[in-house]
Amino acid sequence: MTHPCDLSIAEVGLALRRGALSAVELAQAHLDRIEHRNERLHAFIDLDPDDVLQQARAADVRLAAGDCDDLPLLGIPVALKDILDVAGRTTTCGSHAQAGHNATVDATVVQRIYESGVVFLGKVATYEFALTGPAFDQPNPPPRNPWNTGHITGGSSSGSAAAVAGGLVRCALGTDTGGSVRSPAAYCGIVGLKPTYERLSRQGVFPLSDSLDHVGPLAACVADAAYCFDAFSEPADAPPAAQWLGQGLAGLRLGYGRDWFAADAAVDPQAIVAIDAAVSQLSLLEARVETVELPDYDLFEAVGTIILQAEALAVHQTGLSTRPEHYGRAALRNLITGAALTPEHLSAARAMQQRLSADMDAILNRVDALITLTTLTPAPAFAAFTEGKPVWTPMRTFPFNLTGHPALTIPIGFSSGLPLGMQIIGKRNDEARICQIGHAFEQSTDHSVQKPVF
């Protein structure tokens, strides 16, 4: 019999409605999993079992009353990256600089979570201020990759990825400013959805870079991510992300952006093998795959970095000027680089952002979705970070923070026992299409079935 924590959201929702499982039993199963595994993974940093069980009891009352027809997530546990405000809890942002910053109001997306009947399981770790890591001078140790605890999870949604990949929770919300949902999801062998810009509210989420920040789910499978997105997102004139789950891919046109990574000296050869095989699989599923030429990747990365560093320094200018000693060294050293920029640099970067977004819109008007790698390598080892210097972790996520297009990462295999991910990018507000493609691929392979051993 499958452990309750390993049931998909659809499966566990059915079990709850049929009375085969209670929300309290489900919550307790998750609390037990966390008790047994979190010491290895360092994912959860704020957990209140009494509050969790109280929420679960309330969910059971509603389930018993049949008050669940329009609440598919009623009674299902979800975790939150600790840069989202939950009233009455400290939003640490993984920084000593946030000590004592207790939230008084729920973030809007947290309100959506409560409205959907979800059981808020607890908060999970983040790289400091969603910026850079791993670091060992934060309030909590960096989370560990469940596939190999000698390797990083990636970040900054590090705890979200470790928690989902480690089977502690089916879905955890993260944030993505340059890839912070998608790259840890890829490194940990799970699904990550960076939605269209502003589809999940940023109100009450500590900012890194307002123009690039996105809130998104990290989940154990595509359907889980889609259901959570649909429950927590702001209204839009678009089909729900779960609308076309289970539909075939015949006739869909997919643009394969192979030139973004194939000739890069940093790419892991096994990653090329894995994504070429994944693209072949999509063809077998009757999608029409064609190679497309994408705009210069390096230009995207330069423009994104300028905007991110300028906006992040503006957010932290007061904190850095009044209490720099409260920041971790890596975060501080990253943030202050923004001082090298002038208003003219930022102005040119914003103008270029508009141009690049229009270019990407034009490409996406010719296909139903784009395909490329998420990260060029599997997760690096912690040993690479011991000298305190930044470590280059090549990925292909940043462009879609600039353009705002939705992007989904799904597992496509392994290199040296560590997961690799494929990114599927859609038109604006077309989460349904990329989830349809990701789900069809997932169902036709066994990549997402494999789980780390505990």
Partner: protein, 64 residues
Amino acid sequence: MNELISPADQLTAKAFSRLLAEQGLSIAPEDQAAALTAAQHLRAQAEQVCAAWRAMEADDDPSV
């Protein structure tokens, strides 16, 4: 802007320190030194983006 750039078109340690001070940031010398290479890289990226944008504007301008 030119006074901030060394003959090798690179942000100097002295200029970076002055820029930080102008923003009201009192940063320890070892942190400034550790951040300098990344700041130089960022500055170089920014100059390249400005140049690319100017080139695009010129391409778009029918009078040029």
